[in-house]
């Protein structure tokens, strides 16, 4: 193999391409269906996104429609919904990350401290379970539970003397409901990755610390947490990479016109004006593109900061 590589150097680019292709023809053959998938369902939609700069009409097609420049972006910025959906998206995402990101880490740290393996396994099995329940069922149950006569509403009424209402119809409670249910669904499942990082820590570190007289808390803060920081950072960057598109399917299942004030986010707005209410394809595509671009910018900035501060990042 080494010989081949040596012989490949020195050759012209075309010859190298040819040799590589002949040697790996089956591998490239295998790549075809994979590439076809990405072309059809990822790159063609990206190409289709140029209708954000056009006045798209179905009869004219994507290529044939006339160019209109930034018209749709300007329209969006002047749209009366602009501030509302942007604010709702950022707030929902921010608070959601604020609560649901650290929770699995803390959970994993606590779980790691439990000495009985049997009990640990029971906790794990039960907390992973909600991850497998479909979003539709979870949202359906939320709708039932927090309705006027729902189970959770009743508990709140009985225990805290709250007034009996449909909690989902109250704009002020939407984010809380969203985040709490998000915690219920994800705390166990999202802790797996940290648990595996914890199990990779060298036990000798703990033994050395014990010899130096470190207690449980000090071991946790000086060994355990620093060892999983790299995992935490990577997970945080990945999470920020979806900052603007977080949970739109769930919002779509839970929201109603009564609570658009806090629940309507960019993705749901795009869906409504693009597909549900009027077929404003170009306008909604422009809003979606605006969203994607902010998203990528957040990711790049987060990665840059992380590279500078901690010396690691996704690239």
């Amino acid at each position: 193999m080494l010989k081949k590589e040596v012989s490949l150097k020195g050759n012209s680019f075309a010859v190298r391409v040819k040799k590589d292709f002949l040697r790996n023809k089956y591998v490239y053959l295998m790549a075809i269906p994979v590439l076809l998938y990405y072309i059809a369902f990822c790159y063609m939609p990206m190409y289709g996104a140029i209708i954000a700069f056009k006045n798209y009409k179905i009869v004219d097609g994507i290529l044939g429609s006339e160019w209109v420049g930034l018209q749709w972006f300007i329209k969006f910025i002047n749209d009366y919904s602009f501030v509302r959906v942007l604010k709702n998206t950022v707030l929902l995402s921010f608070f959601s990350i604020l609560w649901t990101f650290p929770a699995p880490i803390i959970f994993a740290l606590f779980l790691n401290e439990i000495r009985s393996n049997k009990y640990k396994r029971v906790v794990q099995t039960l907390t992973y379970l909600p991850h497998f329940i479909s979003l539709v069922v979870i949202c359906g149950l939320i709708v039932q539970f927090v309705g006027r006569d729902g189970m959770i509403t009743s508990i709140l009424v009985n225990v805290f003397g709250m007034e009996r209402t449909n909690l989902l119809a109250d704009p002020a409670k939407f984010r809380t409901i969203y985040i709490l249910s998000e915690l219920w669904q994800g705390i166990g499942w999202n802790s797996i990755i940290y648990l595996s990082a914890l199990s990779a820590i060298d036990l000798q570190l703990y033994e050395a610390a014990e010899l130096d007289g470190a207690g449980r808390w000090r071991k946790m803060f000086h060994i355990t947490i620093p060892s999983i920081v790299p995992t935490i950072i990577i997970m945080l960057i990945l999470k920020l990479g979806h900052f603007m598109t977080i949970g739109y399917e769930k919002v779509m299942l839970l929201y109603s016109p009564n609570i658009y004030e806090t629940a309507d986010i960019i993705s749901t707005y795009v869906y409504r004006i693009g597909l549900l209410e009027g077929a404003q394809y170009s306008y909604s595509t422009a809003i979606g593109l605006f969203n994607s671009i902010i998203n990528v910018m957040i990711l790049i900035i987060a990665n840059k900061i992380s590279n500078k501060v901690t010396g690691q990042g996704l690239w």
Partner: protein
Amino acid sequence: MRKSRTLGEIVFDIFLYVIMTGMILIMVLPMVHVIMASFSNSTEVLRANGLILFPKDFNIAAYEMVAKNPNIFSGYRTTLVVVLCGTFLSIIITSLGAYVLSRRNLMWGNTILGIVMFTMFFSGGMIPFYLIVNNTLHLGNSIWALILPSCLSTWNLIVMRTSFCQIPDSLIESAQIDGANDFIILFRIVIPASMAIVAVMILFYGVSYWNSWFNAVLFIKSRTKYPLQLILREILVNNNTDEMMTSVALAERDSIGESIKYATVVVSTLPILCVYPFLQKYFVKGVMVGAVKG
């Protein structure tokens, strides 16, 4: 090895067990409530005023209604077809891709990896996706629209690639010397050596097909082709159980309507929850393999 524990440690242990038991209750009680409510009389469910821990006025009328409902039956059928065909296709295409990306002496390997990774962070958006799938590829209102657009997940692809990369090179090289081509190497050597990760992928893809609903909202127009999740959305989220009870006298509807919802949840969620504990030890491994790469 452990020395006698200090008071602080004992307090901490108690605290841990209290927290964890609390977690278990929070996870389990809603599920118990659902199961018990499904066996109860609806008027009692409405009057329950909190958690239902035992069936109230035990009956299985709700389940009889669910069994008689043609929508749930046809939804189940569509979903089963999608899950079976989709998972099969996904496993094939994901292993092909993972094998390609795990080859080290491939001139265009990094280019392909770049093409794949880029899609994790940038997309054309919902509307162009809809227009391409519906108008350009003409998959609208077809069951293929539920399978093809989600038949490959980049995250799963990367996880599988990481696992394939861990197979010793010597194993593959010796097969190459024996004259095996890449297809034979993949299906005879690499996949059999990675059955644990294949099991994880079957679970991940199977669950995601079973649970997916939004592509159906986008592309499926005729009710007879609705997957189970859309039927569930009608019943649970839009609170529409009347259609299920056309055969029931008006007076009796109140006493069944509420528990039908819970019975539907049980019927539609049980298959996955039954399989899950057996596969648990595998998928923990799958997530871990992904973590290595990050």
